[in-house]
C-alpha cells in the first residue's frame, strides 16, 4: 500500500471533521489510530528491508520522490506521540470542530514533509504548515494571539520566499528538484562551476531557518508559542519546529552547510537560554528555551559524525516529548493558578493538581539533562560525537537550561494533593513515561549504534553537577531578573533585519566552510 495513504487519511479526516456535526474528537482518534498502525508496520518493514521508496506521478522514473528512512521514522514517531497527547489533553476541553480539523491538517502535513525528498514539494508543504499553525495560534482569537500569528505569517512567508529563491537558483544550474539527484549532480560538478552554490545554499538555509526556530531567524517564536493555547504550543514547539530541522538535516547531506549550522546552533543555544533565564512568564520562558534547545539539534547536525547523528535523532524525540509535556503541564498550571508569572505560580502552587506538578517536575528534570531521563541520553551521544569547541558549547547550554528551569522545581514541592482530570493525566503519561525509554526507543530505530555508551556513570555525575550548579545560580541570583535585554528585535522590522543579517552570516560561513 502506498505510503501516501497516511497523510491522505489525515487530510481526509480533517475534511470529515468539518462535515460531521458532533463527535469530531472520535474522527481525530480514528485517524490517529490509523497513523499509529501504519507507523508500526513501517518500522517493521524498514527494520527488515531498509528504506521504503516511492515515486508519485511516475513518468518513467520522473516524479516526486517519497522516502521513509530511519530519520523519517523518528519524526513520525514523535508526531504520533505528541498528537496522541494533544488529543488526550483536549478531550474534555470543549474545542470546536475547526480546532480538530486544523489539528489533522497539521499532522497530515507533518507526515508528508517527513517523507518528502523533493525541494519544491517541501516548499508547498511548509507553506501549508505555516498557514495551519498561523490559524491554530490565533484559535482563541485573543488580540495578542492574532498579532503574534500575523507576525509569524509575515516572517514565515518571507522566509519561504527566500528559500524558493535558493531553489530557483539551484534548479537553473542543476535541472532537478529531487534531493538525491541534486546531491549526485553537485558531487559530479567540477569545483570551478560551483561559484553560485554558496548563494543558493545560504538562501535555502536562511529560508528554512525562519521556520526552524533559530534565534536570528525565528524571532516570531516567543510571541506565537508564548501566547497560543497550550495544546497548540506543545504541537508547535515539539513538532512544527522540528520539521524545519528535518529539512535542514536533509539539506546538510547535499549542501556544504555543516559549519553554518554549527555556528547558528551556538548562537541560538546561547542567546535563547539568556532570554529564558531572565523571562518571568512561564510560557514565554518555555518558548525561549525551545530556541536554545534547537542549538543542540543544529550542533548535532553540524558535527556530522555517526554518533552525533544518532544523538541528534534522539534529541529530536526527547525534546519533542519533554517540551510537549512542559507546555501541556504549564497550560494546566496556568488555568488552575490563574497567573502566568513563574513567581506567582510558585506562591499559588497549592491550587495546581498534583499530577500537573509532577509532570512539570519530570519535564524540567528531563530538559536539564537529569541522568537516565530523555535529555540525558541524547546529550550523552551528542557529546560523544562532537569536537572540543562544540562540547564546550553543549555544556554551556546545559548550564543555562538548568538555571532557567531551577525556578520551576519548587512548584512541585507541596504536600497537598489536589486531583487533576483524567484525560490530562493520560496526556502527561503518554509523553512522560517514554522519557527514560528514549534511548531504547531510538535504539529500536537506529540499530548498530551500540548499547550503553562508555563512561556513562561519569557522564551522569557531570550532568548532576551541572544541574546542581545551575540550580544554585537560579535560586541565588535574583539580580538576573533585573537585566534588560533588547526587545526591539521581536518587532516586525527588527526581525526582518535580523533575518537579513542572519542570511549574510550563513553566506559567509558557507564560504569559509567549503
Amino acid at each position: 500500500m502506498t505510503i501516501m495513504a497516511v497523510p491522505l487519511i489525515q487530510l481526509a479526516a480533517a475534511a470529515a471533521c468539518l462535515l460531521v456535526r458532533r463527535r469530531q474528537r472520535w474522527v481525530v482518534l480514528t485517524a490517529w489510530t490509523a497513523g499509529l498502525a501504519f507507523l508500526v508496520y513501517w518500522i517493521t518493514v524498514v527494520a527488515a528491508s531498509g528504506p521504503i521508496r516511492e515515486t508519485v506521478g511516475n513518468w518513467g522514473g520522473m516524479g516526486i520522490h517519497l522516502i521513509i528512512d530511519r530519520p523519517a521514522l523518528v519524526f513520525l514517531l514523535l508526531e504520533q506521540l505528541l498528537a496522541g497527547a494533544v488529543i488526550a489533553y483536549t478531550w474534555r476541553g470543549g474545542f470546536r470542530s475547526t480546532f480538530y480539523a486544523l489539528l489533522l491538517v497539521l499532522i497530515g502535513t507533518v507526515s508528508a514533509v517527513c517523507m518528502s525528498m523533493d525541494l519544491f514539494n517541501i516548499y508547498v508543504l511548509l507553506e501549508l504548515l505555516t498557514l495551519t499553525s498561523f490559524l491554530l495560534v490565533a484559535y482563541e482569537k485573543r488580540p495578542v494571539q492574532i498579532w503574534a500569528s500575523l507576525k509569524y505569517l509575515l516572517l514565515a512567508s518571507l522566509g519561504m520566499s527566500v528559500y524558493l529563491l535558493g531553489v530557483a537558483l539551484l534548479y537553473a544550474r542543476v535541472g532537478s528538484l529531487d534531493l538525491a539527484q541534486v546531491g549526485e549532480y553537485l558531487a559530479a560538478l567540477p569545483a570551478a562551476e560551483t561559484r553560485w552554490l554558496p548563494v543558493a545554499a545560504a538562501l535555502m538555509t536562511a529560508g528554512i531557518a525562519v521556520k526552524a526556530g533559530i534565534f536570528m531567524f525565528s524571532l516570531w517564536l516567543p510571541g506565537a508559542h508564548g501566547s497560543a493555547n497550550s495544546a497548540v504550543s506543545a504541537l508547535l514547539s515539539g513538532l512544527v519546529i522540528k520539521v524545519g530541522i528535518l529539512v535542514l538535516y536533509r539539506l546538510s547531506a547535499i549542501l556544504p552547510i555543516g559549519l553554518s549550522l554549527t555556528v547558528l546552533g551556538a548562537i541560538t543555544g546561547i542567546t535563547g537560554v539568556v532570554y529564558a533565564v531572565i523571562e518571568t512568564d512561564i510560557k514565554k520562558m518555555l518558548a525561549f528555551c525551545t530556541l536554545s534547545q534547537v542549538g543542540y539539534l543544529l550542533v548535532g547536525i553540524g558535527a556530522g559524525t555517526r554518533v552525533a547523528s544518532a544523538g541528534f535523532l534522539m534529541y529530536v524525540l526527547a525534546h519533542g516529548m519533554f517540551k510537549g509535556l512542559l507546555f501541556l503541564a504549564a497550560g494546566d498550571a496556568v488555568e488552575h493558578a490563574g497567573t502566568t508569572i513563574i513567581s506567582q505560580l510558585r506562591i499559588r502552587r497549592r491550587e495546581i493538581p498534583a499530577v500537573t506538578r509532577i509532570a512539570l517536575l519530570i519535564g524540567s528534570l528531563a530538559i536539564a539533562g537529569f541522568p537516565f531521563l530523555g535529555g540525558f541520553w541524547a546529550k550523552d551521544y551528542l557529546l560523544a560525537g562532537s569536537g572540543v569547541v562544540e562540547k564546550g558549547f553543549l555544556w554551556l547550554f546545559a548550564l543555562g537550561t538548568a538555571v532557567s528551569f531551577s525556578r520551576l522545581l519548587p512548584i512541585a514541592v507541596v504536600r497537598e494533593h489536589r486531583r487533576g482530570s483524567m484525560n490530562r493525566a493520560v496526556a502527561y503519561g503518554l509523553l512522560g513515561i517514554g522519557l527514560p525509554g528514549v534511548f531504547a526507543l531510538t535504539g529500536l530505530l537506529i540499530p548498530g549504534h551500540g548499547w550503553l555508551p562508555r563512561g556513562i556513570w561519569s557522564q551522569a555525575g557531570l550532568s548532576m553537577a551541572v544541574i546542581a550548579i545551575g540550580t544554585a545560580i537560579g535560586w541565588r541570583a535574583h539580580g538576573l531578573r533585573k537585566i534588560h535585554l533588547p526587545r526591539g528585535v521581536f518587532r516586525i522590522e527588527g526581525s526582518i533585519i535580523a533575518i537579513l543579517a542572519g542570511f549574510f552570516l550563513v553566506y559567509s560561513t558557507v564560504l569559509i566552510g567549503r
Binding site: T130, P143, V144, L153, L154, S157, L158, L165, Y171
Partner: protein, 118 residues
Amino acid sequence: MPSTGVIVAMVLLVIGIGTLVIRRDLVFKLLALGLVNSSTILLLLSLDSKRSATAPIVPPSVMENVVDPLPQALVLAAIVINFAILALALVFVMVLAERYHTTDAARIERSVEKETIR
C-alpha cells in the same frame, strides 16, 4: 550578463524588503510581501527563459525550442499559495484594525503589549 527578467526580479526584491522594513503601515507591509513573493516567481521563470523559445503549450510532436515546463508549473502553485497567505493576512489585519482603529504596526504592538500587562 543576466537577462532583463532577473534584473527586474532583483530590483523588486530589494524594493519589497526595503518597504517591509521602512513602512509601518500593515497594508503596505502586506503589499511589500506580495512584491517579494512576485519577485521570486519572476526569477524562477526568467532564470530559465530563452529569447526565441515559445511557451511549452504545444502538442508533443513539436517539442523543440520551448522553455522548460517545470518552472511554469511550480510558479502556478507558488502564486496560489501566496494568494492564500495574503488573503488570510488581510483578514487578520482587518480584525486588528477594527479593534485598535489603526493599521500602524508600532501602535498595534504598543496596544497589545499594554493589554497583556493588564
